[in-house]
């Protein structure tokens, strides 16, 4: 398979992850201080990645999927520009 070849299933999965990403921020509001929602993979599937500066509830109480799309929670802390300090 050529490097650029993609499977149709992958693109369908990616679309589902994009749709779930749009919902993630409102679902997580109040549960965590979210800083960035993106797309990653979990167990070979596209997943939503929710980056948090901090959590307001135990991690176990956070959604682990949105409309069937897996959710990966990461604690990234604050993000700063990276000029020399």
């Amino acid at each position: 398979m050529k490097a650029g070849a993609r499977r149709k299933e992958d693109d369908l999965e990616l679309d589902a992850a994009r749709a779930a990403k749009a919902k993630a921020r409102s679902l997580f509001s109040g549960l965590a201080k979210v800083n960035g929602v993106g797309i990653t993979r979990a167990g070979g599937r596209y997943a939503v990645k929710v980056n948090c500066e901090s959590l307001n509830v135990p991690e176990t109480e956070l959604p682990d999927e949105i409309d069937g799309v897996p959710v990966v929670v990461d604690i990234t802390g604050p993000i700063r520009k990276q000029s020399a300090r």
Binding site: D74, G77, R80, S83, A84
Partner: protein, 326 residues
């Protein structure tokens, strides 16, 4: 590991005489510079050029190891610490020797991708690459971030850009290599890029698309960049590092600047490939390439540990209406 475990581990390692792991000559002053003749007294003043701390949050902590000077045998000491910590440690190179000697913090003529660079009123970031306007290959520009070249919108067109950056000793007029040209204004929300151009001074030469330690940049990646792909960069602070794409299409990313918090959409997230961060302060503006040395993104932010953020290169080129000089 738990905080108490990290504390215990740190105490245990500090209690050991780690200097015994180094060959005697490594402990002599100036060993790194190759000086061999020293007095016997100097040998007794042993101090390991290494500091240990604890990093982490929310019950997940690890040992932070900061190596201040590279000495023969230091690798063995770091490896011993890694083993004792069962891998739960983060090792970084810091310190003055590194600062003074590495090429990416020094003066580079011809200019090099990855070198220290900045507006005269900033600290320093990194020279990303060389570009020109479509159809105008006779014009030479360098590409980096707005916050590196345009001081977060505060600079004016024509302002001096120095290489190396001011924090590395660059001064105007001696070290001026470019004048601020166009930049994409940073705003509170809906940013896609943190990017600016410097118009190269006439007499300043540069290595067109050479990435030291890698080779030529071969072009611009057009196909989708996916999670898990390996990427590389050369930056002013951490030099050459390897990372892995940990997320794509990151929206709602709030980045702290000196002038306030700016929110970005459509960003790329990169995790380190090993224990050391993919980027630190000073690496802003670095060009990120894939494993075929195709440009993929422009680095601009991070958490200094395990997350780096970058603007997809297509968005940068579009916003400034430029192409890579290859």
């Amino acid at each position: 590991m738990r905080y108490e475990s990290a504390l215990g581990l740190k105490a245990e390692l500090i209690g050991e005489d780690l200097t015994r792991m180094l060959p005697t000559r490594a402990m002599l002053p100036h060993a790194a510079a190759g000086v061999r003749k020293v007095s016997a007294r100097a040998i007794t003043r042993r101090q390991l050029p290494l500091a240990m701390g604890i990093v982490g949050r929310n019950g997940k902590y690890r040992l932070a190891v900061r190596v201040q000077r590279v000495l023969p045998g230091i690798d063995a000491v770091v490896e011993h610490i890694r083993r004792t910590a069962r891998g739960e440690c983060e090792v970084r190179m810091v310190g003055r020797v590194v600062k003074q000697t590495v090429w990416h913090r020094s003066r580079n003529r011809p200019l090099l991708i990855g070198g220290s660079l900045g507006h005269v009123e900033t600290t320093a970031g990194t020279l990303g690459c060389f570009v020109h306007r479509a159809g105008r290959p006779d014009e030479d520009y360098l590409l980096s971030n707005n916050h590196v070249l345009a001081n977060e919108n505060l600079a004016r067109r024509g302002d001096a850009i120095v290489q190396q950056g001011p924090i590395d000793g660059g001064r105007s007029p001696r070290d001026v290599v470019a004048a601020l040209d166009r930049f994409v204004r940073l705003k509170a929300r809906r940013n896609r890029v943190d990017a600016a151009l410097g118009a190269l001074e006439d007499e300043v030469e540069y290595y067109v698309n050479w990435m030291e330690s890698f080779g030529d940049v071969t072009g611009v990646r057009t196909g989708m960049l996916d999670e898990g792909e390996t990427v590389y960069k050369i930056g002013r602070t951490t030099g050459v590092t390897r990372g892995r794409v940990s997320a794509i299409e990151v929206d709602g990313l709030e980045v702290e600047y000196d002038t306030g918090t700016m929110e970005f959409d459509g960003q790329l997230e990169i995790a380190p490939a090993g224990d050391e961060p993919f980027s630190l302060g000073g690496d802003s503006g670095s060009l990120i390439v894939d494993d075929r040395r195709r440009a993929v993104a422009l680095l601009f932010a991070g958490n200094d540990v395990d997350a780096t953020y970058a603007n997809p290169i297509g968005a940068v080129l579009d916003a400034l209406r430029i192409v890579l000089t290859l």
